[in-house]
Symmetry: C2
Subunit: 194 residues, 2 copies
């Protein structure tokens, strides 16, 4: 079930897109800005300090609603839905709009890195035992288009003690755009996530 | 001078932050969502198709107002101000909030990658001759804190033909958090930026 807070985040995602692309006149932009400021004031009546963090849901699973990649309450997150396949592969399908632009018409190379860091890292996550990135290496083969269906996937290459070696890539309509390999580590105490 | 469109983006950045952190009740959240939807409709009266792209300013310089890292019109961008020092070093100082969270209280490792991709790439940019990322390798030394002053910097290690080899890092109050090295390429025709 989508919560009121998640619907708000979806609404803000649409606002972000048109904020970049609007061509209405300055007076209309200023009027909208006032409206947004008033919305911000209403939401600020009660705020958690700092950031969202990770909370534990009713089922005891940790939920990262504020996460910049997967967080349903974070308007900056596309948000990606990470799927764990039976064979241990992880994948996600998505389309990115104007908010993620680098080269004209293309996804910023660093956004590809952000997504691959998360997707490769997800192969190393275990319930209650999150992994953090040790190293990540990216190879850019071609531009990644905005507004076209994309797929990121990753799998574990090998595990050595606390280290998981993962590999993966992003592919678009014209094939693989970026490949990645990374080492992810289960820290002692297992605090971090993402 | 800050334009009306840039002020709108600043306003939406504040909205993003409180959208994640608000604890007002569901009815208040729903009322704000309606207000945001109406703002989005107003801005949608006239839109550029697709994404912002890179446009040429009055001074002939290209301006990437929609860029996800530096774009003053993009609410997802922190936005970073990239400074080119006399010795060829590039640096930027910034603080990241709730919107960029990965591990609780920390910047997502992939956001560090996004920033380092851009900052290292900036060492290779020449007027009218942007560079694209070939490869990027990141080493994560410790968590990067949210809400604390951060500094990213990079310099050119060497140039071989069309390839620029750059190195850099992000540092926080407790020292360097992530190091990076990358190879950036000037494509023939020089189309891309970021």
């Amino acid at each position: 079930m989508t919560t009121a807070q998640e619907r708000l985040a979806e609404s803000v995602r649409r606002l972000i897109d048109v904020t970049i692309r609007t061509e209405v006149d300055d007076a209309a932009v200023a009027a909208v800005t006032e409206k947004i400021d008033s919305a911000t004031a209403q939401l600020s009546d009660s705020l958690v300090p700092g950031s969202f963090g990770v909370r534990t849901g009713p089922d005891g699973q940790s939920i990262a609603l504020g996460n910049v990649v997967i967080g349903l309450r974070n308007p900056v997150a596309p948000p990606l839905t990470i799927r764990h396949d039976a064979d241990g592969t992880v994948h996600t399908e998505f389309t990115l709009g104007a908010a993620y632009e680098g080269p004209p018409g293309h996804v910023h190379g660093g956004v590809c890195a952000l997504i691959l860091d998360h997707v490769l890292g997800a192969t190393a996550h275990l319930p209650g035992k999150p992994a953090v990135t040790g190293t990540l290496t990216l190879r850019y083969l071609r531009g990644t288009p905005l507004g076209r269906p994309l797929r990121a996937s990753a799998h574990v290459d090998r595990i050595e003690g606390a280290k998981t070696f993962a590999v993966g890539h992003i592919a678009g309509p014209d094939g693989v755009t970026v490949t990645a390999e990374g080492v992810f580590i289960h820290p002692k105490g297992g605090q971090r996530d993402g």
